[in-house]
Amino acid sequence: MTNPERTGYEMNMVELEINGQRVSAEEGTTILDAASAIGIRVPTLCHDSRLSASGVCRLCMVEVAKGGRSRLVASCVYPVEAGIVVQTDSEKVRKVRRLILELLWPSLPDLAREYGVTSSRFRPRDTECSLCGLCVRYCAEIKKRQAIYFRGRGIDREVAIVPELAKECAMCRECFPCCTGGHIVTHSDLAFT
């Protein structure tokens, strides 16, 4: 995402390499931005270019080599740096994505199949919600209502609606298209009454 406060005349560009291609990207943008600018698709779940990045789904992790050492970083929040060498589809990256998709199974079945995940060795969770937080951020940042929020902590974390604002939610429903797992849509009657 480009920083709207920055204007053309003070733009600093940095050079980096993504999957063997040399890329020039504006300072302050992310690896994910730079990759999509040259048509490299990095899978994401919690990312929406209209909203602030949260870096929680970890599907967009890529391998970054810098000074002879490589590590995995979340490309949606990692700022571009001069001279880094990025691999968006290395074996390490694929391994991480595969296991995350297996943990999220049966959400995101299409993406899962792309990574060869067709079943899960894990016990299923009893919700379609992947807690990507798109609805929460949409409501807070675009709608400016904060009617949806995260409740609880750790494995008990869930998305909830502020009861006082539930009526308003039933009218609005603008966050529905954001929902990656279909949870809000499925449970809208339940949650919004």
Binding site: L103, R125, R157
Partner: protein, 629 residues
């Protein structure tokens, strides 16, 4: 209240305070740390006040309520100076005798002295008690000499001398160099070089900078930071002012858990006193340097100890970590460069500035200098807070200081580093206390929890306990940590329930790998440690649970059963009376009792009440219990 206007004023005040306290007055110090308060040490203090007045000794005796002495197992602790006589387990009713014998006549009350476990000899002086003799109490020693509510006590004991020295004779760079040269490393867990951290914040291009004390100690069984903040808040404060001076910050925060009310109270009082004395505020000691501190009370979340989460909480947001590919040292609180250190780290700073880096480097190992405070808990005779030089072996801590494992049981492992740490097996007990040595062994120094486990501890159950803790204390934000911990907990649940499957251990390891590389914050990245270290050192226990449906330590309830040895049973009926489910009945026409396995919940009550001379209740495998019926 004297306002101190120059560094020389501090030393003058110290001189006056010390002169006023000299003479033949005895000083009775009563531990008023949280541990001793739980043993009602406040009643002991009240009784001393009464008795001293009653026996007309008020002019000759000074009474002081101090912070934690560390030997919490044997509280309340009373120390009488100048002799250094240490009475353990003092009760209200013992006070009269102590006042009339020790204070009035200089005789010790033998029955209240420490009794050596082996020789049975009584030991009068604190320094001679084995628990204290093997320690090196740099930070904790002051707890015995200072009433945490009195800034005068702290100054009389040498406090604020380091600040006076720095502000009169050192430039900020000199303070920074001293800390860098001391090789001090962060005591909160990571062991990051403190000097380098300070340098990063100092060099960050911003005029506004912050320094923060992390007092969000949340590890189960750990209370090092609590005891420092409760017992000697000015030492942390002095360190913080020195840090701010070195870094160029003018505002600081103490993030302290709301669950530590005494620490909050003592910190707030210390701040007020320091402001009155001119040790905080504008123009500190006439140097022109301005600095003040706020206290932020945490709302009780383990994850808030993580640096970015802690800063979010101070900003008034939910205390959750955020991705930080730019360090908080550069972009922290309100996006300003912020230097966050743990309580114990800050408390070390005045000592380093006073004593010098060379002195500090004289203690410890090549890469870990100084001392470390551990809360020594679990299956150990002398539980409490211990401070040892880096490089001391775990064996010395557990046996020489801790007095070994109770009831002559064998030691199985020690757990260090809190929930993100790991277990170290008995075979590696000669490992030194050192940041790098502990990490190599698959554990970590952590903030200093040290839990001793005896042979009755099941390692799979231990891993399950920590994973359960982390699963509920993680923020739940990122997928690997939240879902990974949920699944690890599920797998460990089924293994301990005797339903483990072949391949479970490998699956656990796969999830561990994922968390280490993909989790968002340090909590998630280190969360696999309890599982990984137990698999690494106690794989055989996992296999016994999964392949043989057996819990070698006899802990996992689904894998054990209790039966009564009919030869040994005295037929006293104590077990039957105490069994909460009524599972125990007298065998018809026989002189013994039997347990109905279908009703038994394996709570272990019967074991506790069975007379020691009988010891008739035995733990067996479930199938064996069925066969004896």
């Amino acid at each position: 209240m004297p306002r101190l206007r120059t560094p020389a004023d501090v030393n003058r005040l110290r001189g006056e305070l010390q002169a006023a306290r000299e003479g033949d007055r005895r000083c009775v110090s009563v531990c008023s740390g949280t541990g001793c308060l739980a043993y009602r040490s406040q009643d002991v203090v009240a009784a001393f006040e009464r008795e001293i007045a009653c026996q007309g000794l008020a002019e000759h005796v000074m009474l002081r309520r101090t912070g934690c002495y560390g030997f919490c197992e044997r509280g309340p602790i009373v120390v009488i100076q100048p002799e250094g006589i240490c009475y353990l387990g003092m009760r209200e009713q013992d006070v009269e005798e102590v006042v009339s014998e020790t204070l009035a006549n200089g005789r010790t009350v033998t029955r209240l002295l420490y009794e050596d476990l082996e020789s049975g000899q009584r030991i009068a002086r604190m320094e001679d008690i084995p628990f204290y003799r093997h320690q090196q109490r740099l930070l904790l020693a002051a707890n015995a000499a200072v009433d945490p509510r009195s800034i005068d006590d702290y100054i009389a004991a040498g406090g604020y001398a380091a600040l006076a020295k720095a502000l009169s004779a050192m430039r900020p760079e000199d303070v920074l160099r001293e800390v860098t040269d001391s090789k001090l490393r962060g005591r909160g867990g990571g062991g990051f070089p403190t000097g380098r951290k300070w340098r990063t914040t100092r060099d960050a291009p911003d005029d506004v900078k912050y320094v923060v004390v992390n007092a969000d100690e949340g590890d189960p069984g750990a209370y090092m930071d609590r005891s420092i903040l409760e017992g000697n808040p000015h030492s942390v404060l002095e360190g913080l002012v020195l840090g701010a001076y070195a870094i160029g910050a003018h505002e600081g925060y103490v993030y302290v858990r709301q669950e530590y009310p005494l620490a909050v109270r003592n910190t707030l009082r210390a701040l007020e006193q320091a402001r009155e004395y001119g040790l905080l505020g504008r123009d500190i000691l006439g140097s022109g340097f301005a600095f003040d501190v706020h206290v932020h009370r945490g709302a009780g979340a383990f994850v808030s100890g993580e640096s970015s989460a802690l800063m979010a909480a101070i900003e008034g947001k939910v205390g959750e970590p955020r991705p930080k590919y730019i360090h908080t040292a550069v972009k922290g609180l309100w996006d300003k460069p912020t230097c966050l250190n743990n309580v114990e780290t800050w408390a070390n700073v005045p000592l380093i500035v006073s004593g010098g880096a060379a002195w500090f480097c004289g203690m410890g190992t090549a890469e870990s200098k100084g001392t470390k405070i551990f809360s020594l808990v679990g299956k150990v005779n002398n539980t409490g807070l211990v401070e040892v030089p880096m490089g001391m072996t775990l064996r010395q801590i557990v046996y020489d200081i801790g007095g070994g494992v109770p009831k002559g049981r064998g030691l199985k492992a020690v757990q260090t580093g809190g929930p993100s740490g790991g277990v170290i097996p008995a075979s590696m007990l000669d490992l030194p206390v050192d940041f790098d040595a502990l990490s190599e062994a698959g554990s970590m120094m952590g903030s200093g929890g040290l839990i001793v486990m005896d042979e009755d501890t099941c390692m799979v159950d231990t891993a399950r306990y920590y994973v359960d803790f982390l699963a509920h204390e993680s923020c739940g934000k990122c997928v690997p940590c939240r879902e990974g911990l949920y699944q690890m907990l599920g797998i460990l649940d089924r293994i301990t329930a005797g339903e483990g499957r072949d391949g479970d251990v490998e699956l656990l390891e796969e999830v561990c790998d994922l968390l280490e590389v993909a989790a968002l914050c340090a909590l998630g990245k280190t969360a696999p440690n309890p599982v990984r270290s137990t698999i690494r050192h106690f794989r055989d226990e996992y296999d016994a649970h999964i392949l043989e449906r057996r819990c070698p330590a006899g802990v996992c309830k689904n894998l054990i059963a209790y039966t009564i040895d009919r030869e040994a049973c005295l037929a006293c009926g104590a077990c039957a009376k105490n069994c909460p489910t009524g599972a125990i009945t007298r065998a018809p026409y026989n002189d013994h009792y039997v347990i109905d396995q279908d009703k038994c919940t394996r709570c272990g009550c019967c074991v506790e009440v069975c007379p020691p001379k009988a010891r008739a209740i035995v733990k067996v495998a479930p199938e064996a219990a069925r066969q004896t019926l």
